[in-house]
């Protein structure tokens, strides 16, 4: 099952990920990404991959586990 990962130190709060996949990513009051879930189903993979690739600082990855 694919697993969402985030580099919280790299995140700059641009929030493209939130716009692309509000069910998976949110942002806290300090402007850092929050993962709303860890494991995702295969059917969500394309959409979440696109959301992760919309991060301007490449802070988001999706790993196979």
């Amino acid at each position: 099952m694919p697993v969402l990962k985030a580099d919280f130190g790299a995140c700059q709060g641009y929030a493209n990920c939130v716009a692309g996949a509000p069910d998976a990513y949110d942002i806290d009051d300090d402007g850092t990404v929050v993962l709303l879930k860890e494991r995702i189903g295969a059917e969500d993979l394309p959409r979440l991959q696109e959301a992760a690739r919309s991060c301007p600082v490449s802070a988001l990855t999706i790993e196979d586990a």
Partner: protein, 413 residues
Amino acid sequence: MSTTVVVGSSVAGVRTAQALRTEGYDGRVVLVGAEPGPPYDKPPLSKQFLSGARQAHEVTLLTAQEAHLARIELRLGSAARCLDVAARRLRLADGAELAYDTCVIATGAAARPSPWPVRSGLHVVRTLADSAALRADLLRGGPVVVVGGGFVGAEVAATARGLGCAVTVVDPLPVPMGRLLGPEVGAHFTALHERHGVATRFGTGVEAVTGESGRLRVALTDKTVLPAATVVVGIGAVPNDRWLAGSGLLLDDGVVCDEFCRAVGTGDVYAAGDVARWYHPGHGTRVRVEHWTNAVDQAALVARNITRPEHPQPYAPVPYVWSDQYDWKIQIAGTPADATRHTVVGRLSGGTARGGALYGDDSGRLCAAVTVNWPRALVECRRLLAGQAPFDTALDRVDRLAARAAGRPGATR
């Protein structure tokens, strides 16, 4: 097997190629780029790459290995010269011809050239090479004159100042950011320069630049002359659509597309990113957007429409752009040009600024928002904009966010 040729290897082109695979496209994907090196990202060129905080390999968008894994064939180092729409063939500068079933035009934009011909010391910032050359001159020290107080000019000014240079920004508009954000909010951006010791000569044009690197003279319309070691010209961009002149495609300051991002009059040519002028169904008019997030979102949509042509989706995004200037993280969503009113929330001055402005249009809806050092509020506003929220509802939500932030220890309000 069908072939998609993507022309232009920066963010719009790279993301289109990647998204084709994500969408399950199983034909050939060929990525054509004029520049020989690995595809790279642009926003750091006026920020972290220019300052030295990030190296060239850290702005790479797609490595050879990533391309290989995604079965993206790289055809870098040769510009596309001509597109034969009827025969579905693309000719490159090196003489090679590529046949395609689908073509995506993602050739972006070029810096509007400097109108002042000087031999050395004058820079524009669009490519990695531009930014590296400017950095080398900045490291030799100032004074630096930046012509243009828009996003790129302001970012270069901030970075040059951070490198220890004396900097002056010149712009013919009295409040350069006011054109986008209105004079009241725009004035805070002028103050931002001044607080960091960068001089502004706003409301003044440039008449001539003469001399050479290290000994340039910038003559202003008010008859003063600024000495400069280095001059940076940031006066906008022009779409790279000239190479399509003989193709028969409709060009009008960009490649003219329908709401599905298909070049009008074709079924198999698409455009994405800075070069695309498409029909935005939400605005009821054709628009061209020069923002990173638009390039990525449009790339994803084009890939989807290529993969599922029987269910094409229209492209109607809420514009979004960020800019990092000095100690400010600036984010803008929506279309402030449509505004008839605005309200400032929080604080838009000083190093601990944390606030924003909401803009409403004459229909009573929220039409845009700008925030400074407050990403949480901008996320909320992007949602509200996407949902076409009334201005008052939006203001109420953002006020509540401000109150919540104020209630926390360490908050800046």
